[in-house]
Symmetry: C2
């Protein structure tokens, strides 16, 4: 019997656990799942005889080491910053490890040691990063195998709300960490490459530089630039590419309206606001509008929007920004913290709401002097509030990769990403069988 | 004989040293001046028998302690972050201390101990902070003594170039730390109070929210908001004030043109630019302009400026932004670092250039139901490249305060600012005799 240790049973672990339990009998697996909240684990494993719920602090090495020792494979679903410490324990105890998160430079530095021990430390195998890598590499390898040269790669991903649950002017609800929604794009310039030129965009221009995208059957989307598009050049082996760009997807009007917060300064996460505990949404907004001796907040805000953005007024009414009732925010809160309070309440998922994960790649390549274009799109709709699109798209590739490791199907070692065919092909095929399907369109460019 | 120890003999110490030497004979003082660069000290003391040039690392406690022990007064002209460590040594050895810099919270925490020992740790006694505190407090106290209530205080300061040396389109040259010029306003929201409302401005709007100011005989200036205007409320005892605002002065068109860098993202100090060592001013600028298949950098930049800002084109031509010659900047440089390279070269002071320090306060107050306005302005022009306006306005108040301490004229103890009349009045009077004069205008508001 093979023992799988899962550290962390939060939101994104649901679909992972379900898949592993479903295959536990036939594969002869037993799951040991740790979370501070043992009830959460019990809810997810039901009465399955193939899993044991544990409760200890998985962030503490001494507490998790005895459990890692018993395992054949460790899956860390902890917050990303803790993966490296888990990896070090896995190195000591010679255990394979999977994490869905970005490889840190510290994690990368364990590569040689892990390789020497013939250990697999597989990372970036959820969604953005994960399915995006795999689906892109599949097309890149196919083009290269046919002697095509890729000149342009643009890729977009977004965690959104399903069309049937989309009933607010923003076309958006909180399906993931609301703090990340508020801080998106902050912390320095965004960079990408356009026709061989490196280009940089400051934060306050980010939500104005949008790409428009249509996905058949799902309508229109807009993409704003991610912070770092350049590092994907080396990950994907595309150092000579002329254009590389990654963006985040939202529904139309979202970026234009969010830009209003950016322009006003209401996403700032540095300065604690004076008397933040007394602010209402109305006085919070007013603190970012220029003073006027007689005009109301509504009038000053309309002046700020101007005629070209006046159609967005309802977006802010929907969020309750003209309400004078105090928010009861904490003292010393930053604008970003107050904004997070507001959107967490107003963009809350209703019990029947379903989320939606959208991914879209655009390639341009040349073959025999002819230019071609490929568009590849994937839309995944959540099943319910537990088995969300986010949980499925993060958890299922992790689960399939787990199966492959335990069955000895992976013969690379060290700190890995799923960019080689031997890894991504079986995973993409099984994802397709599970309903996570890419729809590719091929065009000749005239 | 009284011994004065000066730590650091950089730019702003010149006028300080000259004043103290001039008075050394009559006051029976001897100066001991330390700098890593002993030649710098020798140049500033000439053949005066009243000063000794020392060379050791004043940043190291063990090296400076024996010298502090010999002194009656220590003046720290070191970079601001080192003052606290000097203060701790002064506490141990029971010596008075003067620094021209902002009081850090760590410095503030030494107050009770210093007070108990009857030591004077006098800070913020140069210019901005320093002369601004003293000249503002003088007027605030006068208004309050006449039973007036101050409703509004706006204050501006700028280190600029003298009118005779002003020969570039920006009306600006580097008279101080160029890094601070590039980073000005960054790091979070700027805050102030307007008619009882707390207001916040994000960095990318800062150079658009300008006040226009005219100073008789010196023409027009523009002020952009400082990061923190609110903390002055408590320092000045004006917690109930309706409007409080502090700004930095520049000549007209500077803010509008600098805003172009801000809007493009060229002041970012976070992201290292790809191949920064190969960039020319031209390719550096181009990296921040949207891609166009055929337009030149000049054309794209003109498009970015638009017709309402096209009059600024010459500002950027002056800075050489259309030159294709590599800058030989360092690898891994941020945009802010490259911009600093450019302005340091193009805004360099010529040998005959003189700098100019401008300060301007605006008060509004009510007395017997009548509203009044006071405008108080000071302009100081540098003498030459050594005795600059910056050196005079920083060094002279420090020097006068030194005299007062050594003559026993200050009877407050602890960590002090020059906000009490007993300190600021003699200093302002002597500054006036030395040519640093405030010109006040009083108006009735109709």
């Amino acid at each position: 019997m093979k023992s799988i240790l899962i550290l962390g049973a939060g939101l994104s672990a649901s679909s992972l656990i379900r898949y592993l339990l479903k295959n536990a009998a036939s594969e002869n697996w037993h799951l040991r799942i740790v979370d501070q909240d043992r009830d959460l684990v019990l809810k997810k494993i039901g009465d399955s005889p193939y899993a044991t719920a544990l409760s200890f602090n998985a962030l503490v090495s001494e507490e998790r080491m005895p459990e890692i020792e018993k395992a054949d494979l460790v899956i860390s679903m902890l917050p990303a910053r803790f993966h490296v410490e888990v990896a070090k324990d896995c190195l000591k105890l010679k255990k394979h490890l999977i994490t869905p998160s970005y490889v840190s430079s510290e994690m990368k530095s364990l590569h040689e040691e892990a390789k020497k021990e013939k250990l697999i430390f597989l990372n970036e195998i959820g969604v953005d990063p994960g399915i995006d890598h795999m689906s892109a590499m599949k097309i890149i390898h196919e083009v290269q195998a046919s002697n095509g040269t890729i000149s342009s790669f643009k890729s977009f991903c977004g965690g959104l709300i399903a069309p049937d649950s989309d009933n607010n002017p923003w076309g958006y609800k909180i399906t993931w960490n609301p703090k990340n929604v508020v801080l998106a794009g902050q912390g320095g310039l965004s960079s990408f490459k356009r026709n061989k030129e490196f280009k940089y965009i400051p934060y306050h221009q980010l939500f104005r530089r949008i790409d428009k995208i249509n996905i058949e059957g799902y309508g229109d989307f807009e993409g704003y630039p991610n912070r770092d598009s350049l590092s994907y050049q080396s990950v994907y082996g595309l150092n000579e590419i002329e254009t590389i760009y990654r963006g985040t997807l939202r529904r139309p009007t979202y970026c234009e309206a969010w830009d209003v917060f950016v322009q006003l300064g209401m996403t700032d996460h540095v300065l604690p606001l004076t008397h933040s505990e007394n602010l209402s949404p109305r006085t919070f907004l007013n603190a970012f509008l220029a003073y006027h001796p007689t005009k109301t907040v509504e009038e000053k805000f309309k002046d700020f929007l101007g005629s070209h953005r006046i159609h967005l007024f309802g977006h802010f009414e929907f969020l309750g920004f003209f309400d004078a009732k105090p928010m009861n925010g904490p003292a010393g809160a930053t604008a970003a913290e107050l904004l997070e309070l507001i959107i967490t309440e107003k963009w809350r998922l209703a019990p029947q709401d379903k989320d939606m994960l959208v991914m879209h790649h655009q390639f341009e390549y040349t073959k025999d002097q002819q230019k071609y274009r490929i568009e590849s799109s994937m839309v995944s709709i959540g099943e319910d509030p537990v088995y969300t699109a986010m949980s499925n798209t993060v958890g299922l590739p992790v689960a399939i990769a787990s199966k492959m490791i335990l069955k000895g199907m992976i013969n690379e070692y060290g700190v890995l990403l799923p960019v080689n065919k031997a890894i991504y092909q079986p995973i993409l095929e099984e994802l397709e069988a599970l309903g996570i399907v890419f729809n590719d369109k091929h065009y000749e460019i005239q």
